[in-house]
Symmetry: C2
Subunit: 173 residues, 2 copies
């Protein structure tokens, strides 16, 4: 099953997104296993350096590098806190930008549960209904869509600028 | 924003998913940038070796390694085809397991569009309604949920087996 390519995208040999691709950019920021597992841990409520390292199972050096990258990217915020009578320490908490990673984390969990497990070990449940939640492809209003009937288009927001970036010389000549 | 941890999960120091984690397993299969971009290309309709290499911008050696991994994982199927009067060649097409990666690819695109672009270059549109589609967190029946009110639980399908795997010695002792 593949998307239907509309308009100037129909001839796949005439265009490429290259570095402009949002999927590529997103993978550049969060596309390593240790980064994704730190994001998982932050979603599970882990906030302290030592707990990230222990629960993800990575060295202090890797934990330090990953947390620094995630703070710089705007996904985690580093905040000081002071334990009882102790020295000041820091905790790491998801920002709004980090919260918006939940559909990615949940879709990875859902796919892994389905194809890489005998049975799902954990479930994410909606407090109000008690139902297990899932990631769905919908319209902006929440209506379900058939993923066999999806089209890829140049975004309408800024067609001229976008077209000049994503359409290659082969198309422009 | 973090999940509320229910039951035996409430004490985070008492359990860990380790290698049982579906997110970790999924990242082990698809968690590299070149792998994700090959999946993107297959979704865009690319089927030929040379086109994967050129459009993702990777060497033939990496393309070969990634396609082989994706076929072995069951995400792509390799099929022979014969161009007019030419020798037999092979094409790579998403399996059902591969189709089910669409929510992951689309959620990466959506997050990248929102946070890593001035404006989205491409949009994925539903054929029937003409609406841009998005990835949403819903109940199984498609009802929207508030991601601030999600709980993490041991899955009900197999609580005993699961519990023994995910709960550590600290909990069992």
């Amino acid at each position: 099953m593949a998307l239907t390519l509309d308009g100037p995208l129909a001839d796949r040999s005439a265009w490429a997104t290259g570095e402009r691709c949002s999927i590529s950019r997103a993978m550049g920021v969060i596309g390593t296993r240790s980064t994704m597992l730190i994001i998982r841990e932050a979603w599970y409520g882990t906030t302290r350096f030592d707990d990230f390292a222990a629960r993800v199972g990575i060295t202090d050096a890797i934990t330090s590098a990953r947390l620094k990258e995630l703070v710089q990217a705007g996904i985690l915020v580093k905040r000081p806190y002071r334990p009882d009578k102790g020295r000041t320490r820091h905790e790491y908490v998801l920002t709004h930008m980090g919260d918006d990673l939940v559909p990615i984390v949940l879709s990875l969990m859902q796919w892994g549960d389905t194809y890489l497990q005998e049975s799902a070990p954990l479930s994410v449940v909606d407090e109000d209904s008690g139902d297990t939640v899932r990631v769905s492809v919908t319209t902006a209003s929440g209506a379900p869509v058939d993923i066999d009937r999806l089209h890829l288009r140049v975004a309408q927001e800024s067609p001229t600028t976008v077209g000049s970036v994503i359409v290659t010389d082969a198309e422009e000549s």
